[in-house]
Symmetry: C2
Subunit: 149 residues, 2 copies
């Protein structure tokens, strides 16, 4: 478990480093262990977003799927990784907020469902999100940047 112990060691080293930096004494302590096997200093954010036609993710055919990673930088096959990540950050990873249909939207009431999903990790927590728009008009009004691909 090289990387786990590495991570713990690094954490400890950083904590020590912080202490040393804050102190006033000059006799510096042994340098913190090199970054070596850390897994990361940040909570991971990596997701797969899909769009499918159907009323639930279990049965819908998947039409598109993109990856989106927001840490350490916006990355992935999503066409606008930066925009999507900043929208997610603003909503604190709450996909329900992100798929709300703008007020005042007028759509027909036909049932031609489109289902969007997000699976993976946001800020270190598991994400399993699924939302069904009644029809493409509602989807257009609610998809935001995150499901624009």
């Amino acid at each position: 478990m090289r990387y786990i112990t590495g991570g713990i060691a690094l954490g400890a080293a950083l904590a020590l480093g912080g202490l040393v930096g804050a102190g006033t004494s000059a006799n510096a302590e042994p340098a913190p262990a090199p970054a070596a096997q850390t897994q990361s200093l940040y909570a991971p954010s990596a997701m797969v977003l899909t769009i499918g036609q159907g009323d639930s993710a279990a049965t819908a055919g998947i039409q598109r799927a993109v990856t989106l990673s927001c840490m350490p930088k916006a990355d992935g096959t999503h066409p606008n990784t930066r925009g999507a990540c900043s929208q997610l950050r603003l909503a604190d990873g709450d996909f329900t907020k992100l798929t709300k249909i703008k007020e005042g939207t007028i759509c027909t009431r036909e049932w031609n469902p489109v289902v969007v999903t997000a699976n993976g990790v946001w800020d270190g927590r598991r994400v399993n999100f699924e939302h069904t728009f009644a029809n493409p008009c509602e989807m257009k009004a609610g998809k935001g940047t995150v499901f624009e691909f």
Copy 2:
């Protein structure tokens, strides 16, 4: 829903093209229903892979998470996207095969579980994979390239 109708139109066009090319008579029969709602010409493959310490994904803390996309090209935050994609392709997306421990591996029997997960889409089909290695030694013997990050 510009892109969906676009996709349907494209699918239909391709289907028709295929028929016309293959057929011998000129009065082509009604085309079979187009591959419906595909918009891309390939089935998507996009996943989030995680490694966590614990005995199940539901309870384990996530230590690392990477994205991996294999279509149209190997991409993602995985450190070896090409290697991982080709291993997945060889196994036809069967993660169970990929996490088999090599025969002849000798590990201690301690219980210090590491759980790996894969969520997303492989070749157009949903993937929800989870596997628990009893300890880091077993993980090392079974993780392959896909869970090497």
